[in-house]
């Protein structure tokens, strides 16, 4: 199964070895469509809704969500990307480098921002993302969409839209990719 090198997620420099596939590509597509419906329902349409994908895992997910929103509602929701490296609370404790440049589509003040990430774990990335967002304006509301909620939260943060709730052990690793979602371990 899939083996991928993960440079900046713990444990560092290891290789991810997948044990089981918990979602297939079709499951991903269905979950994405459902989440798109929920976003439209919750916000009574897509007026002033902006999707912001978190680097790196949330970025492809945000554009797939945008495609689903377009197919359902016929509306092109603006899509941006956010790198939270400079806002993390573990700078100096672990390797931290931005994966890509942040791109925010227009002014966020007064709009509804849907943060999109692949996996919700401790919640610390989302904490950093909320700080980062605040530097780009005062959003009217911030919502959170994740493909997998794997538990083990360390902060009072909860998602608004979830692809799949997946109970995990702390030392397991969840990997979301184009062909589905894998559960496995890191090998040094």
């Amino acid at each position: 199964m899939a083996e991928r090198e993960r440079r900046l997620t713990p444990p560092y420099g290891g290789v991810f070895v997948a044990r089981t596939q918990v979602m297939t590509a079709e499951d991903l597509a269905r979950a994405t469509r459902r989440m798109a419906h929920e976003i439209i329902e919750r916000n009574h349409g897509l007026d002033d809704v902006v999707l912001i994908g978190l680097q790196t895992g949330g970025v492809p997910l945000a554009s797939r969500l945008a495609e689903a929103l377009l197919a359902i509602d016929g509306t092109n929701a603006p899509v941006g990307m956010l790198d939270v490296a400079f806002y993390r609370d573990d700078i100096g404790l672990r390797p931290v480098l931005p994966e890509a440049v942040t791109r925010i589509p227009g002014e966020l003040t007064g709009r509804t921002v849907v943060l999109v990430d692949d996996v919700l774990f401790t919640g610390r990335t989302i904490r950093a993302a909320l700080d980062a967002l605040a530097d780009h304006g005062r959003a009217r509301q911030v919502q959170l969409a994740v493909m997998v909620d794997r538990g083990h939260r360390e902060l009072p943060i909860r998602p608004d839209y979830v692809g799949k709730n997946l109970p995990t052990r702390r030392d397991e690793v969840v990997d979301v990719n184009e062909s589905g979602v894998d559960l496995g371990e890191m090998h040094q």
Binding site: D83, A85, F86, Y87, I91, G92, L93, R94, P95, V96, L97, P98, A100, V101, T102, R103, D131, A132, D135, H136, G137
Partner: protein, 325 residues
């Protein structure tokens, strides 16, 4: 009394003393800085150009030589990363009372600083400071030796305007002998695959160019037609203890980028200068304001590049730069 809490640091202090600290493959090291600089350029374009990355860190600038742009650039960079900054300027310090460099460094060190930005008129001072100090040391120009952050911002500026340095022909014109900028830039440009030509009168070249991967000529006019970047060095009048050129006017006649010479270059040749400019000496006043003169961009990019350097040394947690045991 309990012991002071351990400072947040992963591994030994890392330094940027010269281009070779960027790693065994200098080109790859420069690429890493450039990629990170892209992120900081975006930060600098924001309405609030500040991120909390280096909150609680202290950066000291220790300048034994006059400088406005480099010191301001480093301090702006540190502030935009939310670090605290302190300035040590020699004219108002105990150095005037006869304090030695070592005592000065140890005094600053005792206040608990994370990075020291050093400029000094003598080559090798930053390396010496790095030996005495646990903080990360950044060379902001030492004597005739190196000025690595200038080279990095020059690479970034060329890349921004010309895409890449690979295969680009760069002329470095003027007082190479006294220029730390030229030394760092030769190392940086050639590491990225550029062809570098030094253009200078023989008296303004270093005594030996052994091992420099460059071409050398004394004829600026013959060079102008076949370059992509024209990098002018400042005539360092304060370092001219001996009569190396007959007069500034004669220097301008042979090596200044006059309007007539600038007209003979292709319109997209980048005109660069590390500043401060002597308008009318190495560059004509009007030439410095042409659209292909990117001197202001160099200054602008300097802040983002120095943010990248500070972040790599203090924040990224990745091993980078040479450890001077």
């Amino acid at each position: 009394m309990s012991a002071a809490p351990a400072r947040r640091r992963s591994g030994p202090a890392r330094h940027l003393l010269g281009m070779s600290d960027l790693g065994p493959d200098v080109g790859a090291g420069i690429d890493e800085v450039m990629t990170l600089t892209d992120s900081f350029v975006e930060v600098n374009e924001r309405q609030i150009p500040k991120v909390p990355a280096l909150r609680g860190r202290t950066v000291v600038s220790l300048f034994f030589e006059d400088s406005t742009r480099t010191r301001l650039s480093f301090e702006t960079a540190a502030k935009r990363l939310s670090a605290d900054t302190m300035t040590f300027s020699v004219s108002s310090s105990s150095v005037k009372k006869g304090e030695s460099l070592r005592d000065t460094v140890e005094t600053i060190e005792a206040m608990g600083v994370d990075a020291i930005v050093v400029r000094h008129g003598s080559s090798g001072v930053p390396r010496q400071v790095a030996r005495w100090s646990d903080a990360a040391v950044i060379n902001a120009g030492d004597g005739w030796h190196e000025h690595p952050t200038q080279a990095l911002l020059d690479c970034y500026t060329i890349r921004q305007h010309a895409g890449s340095l690979a295969g680009k022909r760069v002329a470095i014109v003027g007082d190479v002998k006294h220029s730390r900028v030229a030394r760092s830039n030769v190392a940086a440009f050639t590491a990225l695959g550029a062809e570098v030509t030094l253009v200078a009168p023989p008296t303004l070249l270093p005594p030996s160019l052994d091992g420099w991967p460059v071409k050398v000529t004394t004829d600026l006019d013959a060079t102008l037609g076949s370059i992509d970047v024209c990098y002018l060095l400042r005539m360092q009048r304060e370092r001219m203890t001996e009569a190396l050129i007959p007069s500034l006017r004669e220097y301008t006649a042979g090596y200044g980028l006059t309007s007539r010479r600038a007209d003979r270059m292709a319109a997209d040749v980048l005109i660069m200068h590390p500043g401060p400019m002597n308008r009318g000496v190495e560059i004509a006043a009007e030439v410095a304001d042409r659209p292909n003169a990117v001197i202001v961009d160099q200054v602008r990019n300097g802040v983002a590049v120095r943010m990248a350097v500070l972040f790599l040394l203090l924040g990224s947690g990745t091993r980078w730069g040479g450890d001077d045991a």
